[in-house]
Symmetry: C2
Subunit: 212 residues, 2 copies
């Protein structure tokens, strides 16, 4: 590396770090404002003022108000995956892991106004819940199909079915609550639709969520 | 009934009939225009001009462009129910009737641009497919629960699950096609989630759709 290349690399790393700091400041300000006033009430201008950045800077980082929530949701999804790992305590059964993930995710989304807004009102047409959940559940699903735990003949159709089903349950949950065991029932139905027997689905969907 | 009451009743019936004729003319014009130019391209003004009614008259009958499609969709849903009756040929098994309905409805909605638009782009927030399908499938579902054909512990959660699942499949279908047996796979998953065994679900979801 020549001296000039080295100094350009340092500069670009520094620029990158500054960009990241700015982005973090925007996200932080947005979250704080939205949790205080509700997502709808907060404008991009409110966010840029609170983060002390210009309008143009905001749009360098995000296409819209909804997109500011994206990094927050990614982080929450990561926390859910980590919790699934802890709760299932190293057990690798994809049925148990998927059911646990469905339960934890449904509770999290239903109880977090920011996440809920992103799923239902961000204006993204039929935003796929699965996209927001990252690749972990898809890997459990594929593993379960590969090792015969699940009976799936069309992976894409099955995935869309489950994805939509979770949104359907959340939508009904939003409209008027759902009863204490809605997340467990939903996890049970997911397992059934993957070909797990009714008896086993009922049992797995009700495993304790405490840490083992 | 006095003579005056009788004449008022005649008048009100006549008014009612005239209102119905006007409404039918608006719906007819809207359908013709939308099938020719696509739903998005057609404005309320296009419809009122083609139907030869005033702007105000339109809004006496319908709240929005999307709502004009409602009577059309009700009629299509009726035709689907009638076809389910014919195809199942008097067999009353709720599993067979629901699976048949799912298959016929998915094909109908996926292939009808007007219906498809209504489900996905009419602006109605997460428009419930079930609402559009009327009460027939709900009755099959309740009957199946009552006579033990289905294993359902929370009817509302299960209904929302299936409702969302169908929308999820249709959304994926819209994005990029789905393979020849997507409707059959979906019907199979619906039956599984209702507690029908994988073997039976696979068989029932592939019963011939020809008239018996």
């Amino acid at each position: 590396m020549t001296e000039m290349e080295a100094s350009e690399a340092t500069l670009s790393t520094r620029t990158q770090r500054r960009r990241q700091r700015t982005q973090a400041r925007i996200v932080e300000a947005a979250e704080r404002l939205m949790r205080e006033h509700g997502v709808e009430a907060v404008t991009v201008q409110d966010i840029t003022e609170a983060a002390d950045v210009g309008h143009g800077t905001f749009y360098l980082h995000f296409e819209s108000k909804a997109e500011v929530l994206r990094p927050l949701i990614d982080r929450m999804a990561e926390r859910i995956h980590a919790r699934v790992d802890r709760v299932t305590g190293g057990k690798r059964d994809p049925a148990l892991r998927l059911a646990t993930g469905v339960r934890i995710a449904l509770y999290a989304i239903a109880s977090d106004p920011l996440w809920n807004w992103y799923v239902f009102r961000s204006g993204t047409p039929f935003r796929r819940l699965a996209e927001g959940m990252g690749t972990a559940p898809q890997e459990d699903m594929k593993r379960g199909v590969a090792n015969g735990r699940f009976q799936v003949t069309n992976l894409r159709a099955t995935w869309s079915f489950i994805d939509g089903a979770l949104i359907g349950v959340l939508a009904a949950w939003n409209r008027s609550g759902m009863g204490d065991d809605a997340a467990e029932i939903t996890a049970e139905l997911v397992l059934r639709s993957l070909g797990v027997s009714t008896e086993e689905a009922a049992r797995i969907a009700r495993e304790p969520l405490e840490l083992t």
